[in-house]
Amino acid sequence: MTIHDVERDLPLSLQANPRLADWLSILPSGVVEVRSGKVELGQGVLTALAQIAAEELDVDVARIRMTAAATGTSPDEGYTAGSLSIQHSGAALRQVSAEAREIYLSVAAAYWQVSVDSLVVDDGMIAAPDGRTTTYWDLADDLLLDRPVTGETEPKPTSSYHVVGASVPRIDLPDKLASRPRYAHDLAFAGKLFGRIVRPPSRGARLLDVDTEPTRALAGVTAVVRDGNFLGVVAEREEVALAAADRLRADATWHQHPTLPDEDDLAGFLTSAPAETSILAEVHADGVPGSAVNSYESSYHRPYLAHAAMGPSSATALASNADGVRLDVWTHSQGVYRLRRELARALELTKEQITVRHVEGSGCYGHNGADDVALDAALLALAVPGQPVQVVWSRPDELGWAPYGPAAVVRIAADVDADGGVLSWRHEIWGNGHATRPGFTRAVGLLAATERDGGEEIEAAGEPSLAHGGGAGRNSVPGYAFPAYRVVNNRLTVMPLRTSALRSLGGFVNVFAIESFMDELATAAGRDPVEYRLAHLSDPRGRAVIEAVVRKSGWAKWSAADSVGHGIGYARYKNSSAYCAVVAEVEAIDEVRVRRLTIAVDAGLIINPDGAENQIEGGAIQATSWACKERVRFNDLTVTSDTWESYSILRFSEVPTVDVELLPGDGNPPLGVGEAAQGPTGAAIGNAICDALGVRVRTMPFTREQIVTAMPD
């Protein structure tokens, strides 16, 4: 194998960060320290990565200490996003751990003058055939791993796994349950000050005047910061910071002007706004096309969706001026290196002057306010050097100012033959992009940077290539074996509300549209939705998840009842990741109530079955909430759905029963599970509503109002 081949075969994260010691330290105390560039978002990834390292090293998983990502000490693995952590960091740690094991065994083998192959390892204890033993901990030496990965050590065959594939309990939960401080919100520093931001009253509002004196006069207020339209306060106590922010807000005068489209005709806005049109995929039929007997067309629409995490965004920053400016930031960002670069741009510092450390936050479902709040905290900290400042966003700011998952319209048209079989398929998308993360935009991609004096608006998001999973185009290419298809994206070049990545990106609306339309075509042809899908699906793993969910849900034994229906949705996430099929059972009397979701998933090798089920079930419940209840509301000035009353999410009494079946990995490599269920769940619910009521609802959320609107006149 040439060096070139080795490089090509190494996981991407290892090509970028080849030094073994960057990933792993074996400590004399019997601990293995693992530094992944991926971060815990509440998805349990640290546990899964610890399992992978423990498996290859042959140590108990309890010995693995996962270190939170930080610039300067962790490998740079970009963002923790796209359900790629196991594929990226897991693959890297697997190779690093296998090589570390080999290196330690070589040391013991050389000392004993035996072959490496004759040694066995059990929880870090290395034993020779003659009974002599030593341990990793006795041999621990940092220099041993101070070398680049070679790619020459073969990791274990998956068939020998015993730690990977086991439902190891989450390593972070005991702290969280025992109320030990683990969240960014809980950081304790001596002399910590409390900051709050006064955001503009509406989009694009300009601060005309603010009297800061009454705020400064409040006992316990340390600083008031104004920079253009950016306003913030720093105080000794949190209750003082809250009162000071209220005072400052009351003493500010703003110029406001309408910038937002008419929410009641959002679909009209999306399909008429300035856009850049591109063909994402196109396949022409081989040979003579069959003759079309019928043509159909339908349009589908989803609103803007909020991340709506339970804990608002929070960061702490500490600036020092001792030897030139230094800035330390603690936040729950998905990408500490990317954030550091963006902070450096915003503050005109070098990245060497900044350290960003990940601290766990509330659940993270995509690009939320975690990066924005870091700049908020930094701007306040720079005003009070030497004193750490913690900023926590208010609930209205969290729901009103964090990026949203974009609204979209999808129109699908198809020509079908005499049996209803698809001859050609056209899929067209209108909406904003999903990629305004820091580092993806020309302007600094942080909210406060747009508010500061001379700040630039963040431009409309671009569209990543389908090879990178796509954004608006994610899951827009049909997974069915259609003879001809064409996929077009109209990427809006204006962005009235900031949009970015929210779990499953365009996959949610594209799968909703495709799978609704498949049902519409099946109905038109008088065919069963399951039979119709299978007739168009050649991928055996896709067929297997549909067949599994049909079996498990009792699809064939369904007995129709008034106002109760069932429906199916299927997709392979990103057309390249996990396969998922969902059957939804709904009751639609006064409101839609989803009673049961049955889900089958093939995600290849599963690292932690219980964790995977938890992720799939959680994703499906969140998607049920999106599909049935959620819609960002706004008037021409600003977002109005900024409390839990105006942006309501699914409650305990509304949550469906969820049954998840994980199909055997069958030797296939691991695929991410965090985003596989969203699209199929939304689609299955829409199809079930149609089955229950005979009404095809093509606009989300499936509220009583939308159902009434969808009823034929």
């Binding site: 349990g44 005991p174 109320s179 207020v221 949190e238 659940g363 479902y365 079930e617 409390t643 409650r651």
Partner: protein
Amino acid sequence: MTDTLPPRSTVLVNGRREEVRTEPDTALLYVLRNHLGLKGTRFGCGLGSCGSCFVLLDGEPAYSCDTPMWAVADREVTTVEGLGTPERPHPVARAIVDGQAAQCGYCISGIVIAAAALLADNDDPTEADVRAALDRNLCRCGAHNRIVRAVLAAAAEARAK
């Protein structure tokens, strides 16, 4: 900025009388988290509508984020820390770990409070009882069903003793 110290107030938390210096209209939440270092009670909305900040006030779940200090002067506050210790967790907390009934975990302490109050009143709740008792608690990760099973398991275990 002035050097006037904020007024004294006292509060009975987890069986201990604590004295803090803050204004009478300060929400109990900030006193618990910052003055007393009890980080288990969490800020979620500040508006009394998500349950992340639940504590027991004389045994009943209450939103600490919109309960002012003046209103708790002669009442008994129990936080999630007061329900158990890391070594001897409350049965609901233990059942949640045993059932891996969380994802991000941020909402969990408020849920433990609500569930503890339910089980104190009703040692044999139905699933519908549990869902109704937790309906003021929001969870965004979708751990609801696991949480409900954990609360039922904790109730069953308590009855078996």
